[in-house]
């Protein structure tokens, strides 16, 4: 049956005339392991092409969707594996290509009649590398976008045509949607086509003239058929290479950095195979950089292309010496430059902390995408709306010139010259306990380096709280509990709830009003007057912080006694005139308070929760009991939420009420 079909097919197409000679190919000097790299390269290219075509089914090239769609591929374990094969396979291709070229050079397989094999091979090499490079930015990661930006500028440094090519490639001045669509069409169509054409010529020439092992390299054996004697060698080498790639793809997966965002620091390293150019560039300053990036590689390529001619002119011995020198120079130059670049980064603390920061962002972005999904605004909004990411950034930008944010182990954001209180867990019980401690109060963690070091507050703390008896200490603890409850910190919700239930807070407020007479200067609730000292009503709450940071000289805070704190958001409604936008202010406050964004039930993240409050009392108990939401889910077009006092999560809840509904429904009802 099958035989009949084959006969029919052959009769109509004559395919056997094409296939038979391939099947019955004979290697005049026998099979060699050395031939296997080229074949492995071919199979690896096929693997990369197939996995690439599969991924095309779920990839979308635009700045809003590229990262999300790649992450979507990764969320499917089969997809993540395919992407890993594609990624590591492309790296393997480049390594195999280098080995293949070196081998051809060593055995002088470029000799007549293999000149065209050699030249097409050499042209394929940079083409495959560029093909690989056009793929890197497609996931629209910070790393990928930084790379294409730099690569574009490298191209632009070529005189005359450089800037034109750059503009065409990038699609304008800035990396964006057009860059992605351009790179995508290059990556999936133009380069495969060009590589395919060159490869067809290359393979046709190999077939026509035989594998280019020259008989004079002395390793020739008796003639053997290609199949299966060479095939088994090819398959063994390919099998091993493929296993390594597959294991990496399975265990490691292809990396996915943070979504590209101009606000994030730039990633400044190329792929490993281009590090040598990166290093070489350092030695050519300014407008001479193109010598490193275009002239030197171009000359090297031309020299290699000229090898068959050089070989013919020189004596056998001279040619061998020359080839040896080229190989040695090439390997040593590449190795030294790459090594120098790696070595430099090894010792560069700044680069390492930047790398670590970006990796942290990448991890966080993936975590948020898995948890909450990605909004139509795209993956860039994941980190932009994440207080855990933006809080430290904003704090470093605006606050660290005076304030530190350092935990008890000294970890955190350290001000070089702290001249204002450490804001780590501001308004929490332990923070307040420190501020109301006669010694700590005047230390640099609180008022030590401010004008208030000599002020009434420090004075009265040192006078009245220095020698408390046991009753006094108990009252002070109640005061602290009551004042801290004003902040409504989510990390203290359980403690606050408990204190409210057992009357501690009532006693604490009474202590503020009567025993310690805070209201002589401060206002709390209806007691006391504004003007002399900050309002303690809602002390440390999101609203209180927003008002204070917006304008510390507001009458609620320091109308006459503000030390140096700027008004970050004084002009209402016109954020262009403010140091901090509403959005940034909100993120900063959320981070300071450890509120988190859309904290799902049962999540344990949040930077500030490990500080134990009143050691032992809270113990390992419900450190971070989240507010219990009750959701009327099935009764109204827009599910409504009822929340307990803590107001800030409500906003975010409404925002994502539907998702919330599911989570809350499971978790608390």
């Amino acid at each position: 049956m099958l035989k009949k079909f084959r006969d029919w097919l052959d009769d109509r197409t004559g395919y056997r005339n094409v296939v038979r000679p391939l099947q019955r190919r004979v290697l005049p000097t026998g099979p060699k392991w050395g031939h296997a790299t080229a074949n492995t390269l071919l199979w690896m290219m096929l693997t990369v092409v197939i996995t690439g075509v599969l991924m095309m089914a779920s990839y979308s090239p635009s700045t809003t969707s590229a990262w999300s769609s790649v992450h979507y591929i990764d969320q499917n374990s089969a997809g993540a594996f395919l992407r890993g094969l594609h990624f590591y396979g492309s790296h393997a291709m480049i390594i195999l290509f280098a080995i293949h070229t070196l081998r051809v050079l060593v055995v002088a397989a470029f000799r007549a009649p293999h000149e065209i094999v050699w030249i097409t091979g050499l042209l394929l090499m940079p083409m495959v590398v560029v093909w690989a490079i056009t793929g890197n930015p497609l996931s629209a990661t910070q790393r990928g976008f930084s790379q294409i930006e730099v690569e574009g500028n490298i191209i632009a440094s070529t005189p005359v045509i450089g800037p034109i090519i750059q503009r065409l490639l990038i699609g304008g001045d800035e990396v964006g949607n057009l860059t992605l669509t351009h790179l995508y069409s290059l990556h999936i169509f133009v380069f495969p086509l060009l590589v395919g054409l060159l490869l067809a010529i290359h393979l046709h020439q190999v077939y026509r003239h035989g594998l280019g092992s020259s008989p004079d390299d002395g390793s020739g054996g008796p003639a053997r058929p290609y199949w299966p004697y060479q095939t088994v060698r090819n398959m063994t080498v390919f099998g091993i290479t493929f296993s390594i790639v597959a294991v990496l793809a399975w265990r490691q997966g292809a990396p996915l950095d943070a979504p590209a965002d101009p606000d994030l620091p730039h990633w400044t390293r190329p792929e490993w195979y281009f590090l040598f150019l990166f290093e070489l560039r350092r030695y050519f300053g300014g407008s001479w950089e193109f010598i490193a990036t275009a002239v030197i590689p171009g000359v090297a390529l031309l020299l290699l292309i000229g090898m068959p001619a050089i070989d013919r002119m020189a004596s056998k011995r001279m040619s061998a010496v020359f080839r040896g020198a080229i190989i040695l120079a090439g390997v040593v130059a590449w190795g030294t430059l790459t090594g120098a670049s790696v070595w430099r980064d090894w010792g560069d603390k700044e680069h390492q902390s930047l790398t670590a920061e970006l990796e942290g962002h990448a991890e966080r972005a993936r975590e948020l995408a898995d948890r909450d999904g990605i909004s139509p605004a795209g993956a860039i909004s994941l980190l932009r709306n994440d207080s855990q990411t933006q809080g430290p950034r904003l704090f470093r930008q605006h606050c660290v010139s005076c304030h530190s944010h350092v935990d008890t182990n000294g970890e955190g954001i350290v001000a070089e010259e702290p001249s204002a209180p450490n804001l780590y867990r501001f308004a929490s019980r332990e923070w307040l306990a420190g501020m109301l401690d006669p010694e700590a109060c005047a230390s640099e963690s609180y008022y030590g380096n401010t004008e208030f070091a000599e002020g009434d507050m420090v004075g009265s703390v040192q006078d009245t709280l220095a020698d408390l008896d046991d009753d006094g200490k108990a009252s002070l603890a109640q005061l602290i509990a009551a004042l801290s409850a004003e902040a409504m910190l989510s990390s203290q919700a359980a403690l606050d709830e408990q204190a409210r239930a057992d009357g501690t807070i009532e006693l604490g407020v009474a202590a503020m009003v009567e025993e310690f007479a805070c209201i002589e200067c401060h206002k709390i609730g209806d007691e006391g007057e504004l003007g002399a000292a900050p309002d303690l009503t809602g002390y440390g709450s999101a609203d209180w912080l927003r008002a204070l940071i917006s304008n510390p000289e507001h009458e609620r805070f320091y109308p006459d006694t503000n030390d140096r704190m700027p008004a970050f958001s004084a002009s209402d409604g016109d954020s262009s005139r403010n140091l901090l936008t509403e959005h940034d202010l909100d993120l900063l406050i959320r981070w300071l308070r450890g509120d988190g964004e859309h904290q799902p039930v049962g999540a344990t993240s949040g930077p500030d929760e490990n500080a134990s409050t009143e050691a032992g009392q809270g113990g390992r108990g419900p450190m971070r009991q989240l507010p219990t939401y009750r959701l009327i889910r099935t009764r109204h077009p827009r599910p409504r939420l009822m929340t307990p006092p803590n107001p800030s999560p409500t906003i975010s809840c409404l925002h994502r009420s539907h998702l919330r509904g599911k989570l809350c429904g499971i978790g608390t009802v």
Binding site: G79, G239, I374, R635, S657
Partner: protein, 189 residues
């Protein structure tokens, strides 16, 4: 088995193994939509106040919810449209009043059904299917040609409920999606 046969099989084994390691995840990857369950069924929402419905005047309302479109999550989007047909007037107390709900998609091939206020029929512009206010297909004889719809409009579970706080009477609909083209109403898997 001689050496030649052995290495033939060895070569084939490696080749096919590698091919499978690519092909199996490849197939799994592209067939993922087949394994993903649609989240169509069973969203219950209050859509409109009873007082806003008149007998014989169907009202179209939307069902909102979040929708995951591959890599994008849409919050509070319109995920479906529903026609409400009030069948009893104000003489009937609200708790006994009857309201019918239909999905606003044609059971034939899923086009959006429109209401023709003049003819008091629902009609589907795609293949000229017509439905009565009760949701039943208009008969072929009345239409003058074969009504292309295989079944009547898909009714949804619907009840009139009182809101706790305000005491207002609301129509509550449980939204579901159904397979097209079948003669019986079958929830989509």
């Amino acid at each position: 088995m001689n050496r030649r046969t052995l290495i033939k099989w060895f070569s084939r084994a490696i080749g096919w193994t590698c091919a499978c390691i690519v092909a199996i995840p490849g197939i799994r990857f592209i067939t993922e939509p087949l394994r993903r369950r649609s989240s169509g069924g069973g969203i219950t929402q209050r859509v409109v106040q009873l007082a806003n419905l008149r007998v014989g005047e169907p009202v179209q309302t939307t069902i909102t919810g979040s929708r995951q479109d591959a890599w994008v999550r849409y919050d509070q989007e319109t995920i479906g449209r529903v026609y409400l047909v009030r069948e009893t007037d104000d003489t009937v107390p609200p708790e006994q009043s009857k309201v019918k709900a239909f999905t606003a998609v044609c059971p034939h091939l899923g086009c959006a059904v429109q209401f023709d206020a003049g003819a008091k029929t629902f009609n589907c512009p795609c293949h000229k299917a017509f439905f009565e206010l009760s949701g039943n297909p208009v008969s072929d004889s009345e239409l003058g040609y074969r009504n292309p719809t295989p079944r009547g409009m898909d009714s949804l579970e619907c009840q009139v409920v009182q809101e706790g706080g305000t005491g207002e009477w609301w129509v509550e609909v449980t939204y579901e999606k159904f397979e097209y083209g079948l003669t019986t109403k079958t929830p989509r898997a």
